[in-house]
């Protein structure tokens, strides 16, 4: 029974496996539902898919399978000579490019400046998104007044802002952070304003019946009710912030991971180019993971 179901499947595979066992082997059918079914009982022995998925280290290992396979395929295809070194340098060469840049002190600088831009732009954009999203979500008047304008601004493709921002703010930190701010604003604004409109009316009415109104009603009922939605908005916004960072750095910068991309392209350094892509993937995933931890805590606290 323990080998029923693949270890990679998710969901209710324990129950599915049991159902299959019941129909397949009449001997097992005598004890289908009891949780303590001895050696053949799936949840107890840790070999069931659900048992594996309950273990944090096992989940981490499972998640690393595909990246490891990609890395192996990369290594094999380069050592087999399918691609030239210019097209696709082997992983070791990319690693070497990384250590080289690190020793020169440039890699740390690229990473630090990019992360700083993302964090400042994300924080400012998310804060504005929260404020305007609350306004539009709670007040019918603000909705009618602001929503059409904000909707039209959202329709402008991100790169269309770049020339204007550079013209107004010159090629410096301000223009890049503003672009990232624009990218982070909209997901938060949209999720917060929509979620506030769908807060359980019964809860709001009950709170009003006990004399809550205005800011107290907002902080006691409405904001806590939308915490899960706020976090999904924040995660979308963080992804957007990294996207807009690269857009900003590709166009006009002398530092950062986006600059490393264009600079390597111009110099034919495919190894550094790949390094920048891998770093963007890893750092993006780390920041998202940290936000995910905060989300987990907040949802447990507020939902």
């Amino acid at each position: 029974m323990s080998n029923l179901g693949t270890p990679f499947s998710t969901g209710n595979s324990v129950a599915d496996g049991r159902a299959a066992a019941v129909s397949a082997t009449p001997a097992d059918a005598a004890q289908p539902g009891s949780p303590e079914t001895g050696p053949s009982g799936s949840p107890a022995n840790g070999w069931s898919p659900a048992g594996i998925l309950a273990n944090g280290w096992a989940r981490l290992l499972l998640g690393l399978i595909i990246p490891a396979a990609v890395l192996a395929a990369w290594q094999l295809s380069t050592s087999a000579g399918i691609f030239s070194v210019v097209q696709l340098p082997p992983p070791a060469m990319v690693l070497e490019a990384g250590t080289d840049l690190l020793q020169r002190g440039q890699l740390g600088q690229h990473i630090a400046i990019s992360t700083q831009r993302v964090l400042i732009g994300f924080a400012a954009g998310a804060a504005l998104g929260l404020v305007f999203g609350s306004l539009v979500g709670l007040s019918r008047f603000a909705d009618v007044l602001l929503a059409p304008t904000i909707g039209a601004l959202r329709a402008v493709p991100s790169l269309a802002w770049v020339p204007l921002l550079i013209l107004w703010m010159k090629i410096g930190e301000d223009s890049k952070i503003t672009l990232i701010l624009i990218g982070a604003f909209f997901p938060v604004f949209t999720t917060v304003s929509l979620a506030l409109r769908h807060v359980d009316r019964n809860l709001v009415e009950a709170a009003r019946a006990f004399g809550l109104k205005g800011v107290r009603l907002l902080t006691t009922v409405q904001l806590p009710a939308v915490v899960p939605a706020v976090f999904s908005g924040l995660r979308l916004a963080l992804a957007q912030a990294w996207l807009f960072l690269v857009a900003a750095e590709l166009i006009a910068s002398s530092m950062g991971l986006g600059f490393l991309l264009t600079d390597s392209q111009n110099n034919g350094r495919t190894d550094r180019l790949l390094l920048a892509i891998v770093l963007l993937a890893v750092i993006g995933k780390i920041t998202d993971g940290l936000l995910g931890l905060a989300e987990k805590w907040a949802v447990k606290r507020w939902a």
Binding site: N202, L203, A207, G211
Partner: protein, 282 residues
């Protein structure tokens, strides 16, 4: 469940704050109350010509078929809804907007899922109560409704009956002059419902506030109320049903509470009330 009651459980110390001293029951008067929803051809009258006086400290049950405006009457009293004509007066002054003299317990508990029971009950406290007095009052109420050991629990961690008791405690935290109960036990199983009814009687004995209880359960009304009003449609002179419900019958329930649930007299009244509601008692 049979919470040990001391009458001090509900009464805050007289000298504590000016606000909490107001535990006395208040009379309620409905004056030519009318409520119409919609406008023009779409207009739909739910209640009309409701004229009635509730004595202070009285328990009044409001019976009626569903959709007859029982809840509308209660919501008008709390100020959650405003009448199209006429008024609701509490202690002689008309209700305008959310009224702090009332406390509401809804059919569903409507507790905030992110707060503990303790914090949920504290929401009912009247404004101006000091943190110390508020905390003391909440813990007294938790004890009163038998939830002392669940003060730090979240609503989703307790049963429906317990959540409904917490909702009742939240309403009592307000020291209401008028306690409004909108089918508060309707969603509970029969056994829990009887226990909740006994709890309500205990509470009322300890602090006799005015209670308006909307219910569709005739037995509950007979068990709890001093008087019962039935809302329904009354045919006008032509015999056609006039739009909107009004009070079609008022019944004084005899006997001291708690009443014998199996008494012959109550059984006779039950049959008669069911008939008024358009249900045969077979």
């Amino acid at each position: 469940m049979s919470a040990v009651l001391s009458s001090s459980a509900l009464e805050t110390p007289r000298n504590a704050t000016g606000v909490s001293a107001r535990t006395s029951a208040l009379p309620v008067s409905f004056r030519a109350l009318r409520r119409t929803f919609g406008k023009g051809a779409e207009a739909h009258t739910v209640l009309r010509d409701v004229d009635f006086d509730v004595q202070s400290g009285e328990v009044l049950a409001i019976l009626g078929t569903s959709g007859c405006g029982k809840s509308t009457l209660l919501r008008a009293t709390a100020g959650l809804d405003s009448p199209s004509a006429g008024s609701v007066d509490i202690d002689g002054t008309p209700v305008q907007g959310i009224d702090a003299r009332c406390a509401f317990a809804f059919q569903e508990p409507r507790l905030l899922p992110w707060h503990t029971l303790q914090a949920n009950i504290a929401i009912g406290l009247p404004t101006g109560v000091s943190a110390k007095d508020g905390k003391a009052k909440v813990s007294r109420l938790l004890e009163l409704v038998g939830l002392k050991d669940f003060a730090k629990h979240r609503p989703r961690e307790i049963s429906g009956g317990m959540a409904q008791r917490a909702s009742l405690a939240r309403a009592l935290a307000r020291n209401p002059g008028v306690l409004l109960l909108d089918e508060p036990f309707g969603a509970l199983d029969a056994l829990t419902r009887i226990k909740m009814q006994d709890l309500l009687l205990d509470i009322h004995r300890a602090a006799p506030t005015t209670v308006l209880l909307v219910t569709h359960d005739v037995d509950e009304a007979l068990q709890l109320a001093d008087r019962i009003i039935i809302l329904g449609k009354e045919p006008d002179e032509d015999g056609a049903a006039a739009p909107g419900a009004t009070i079609v019958r008022t019944v004084v329930v005899p006997g001291e509470r708690p009443r014998d649930r199996g008494s012959v007299e109550l059984a006779r009244m039950r049959a008669s009330l069911l008939e008024s509601l358009g249900v045969g008692s077979h």
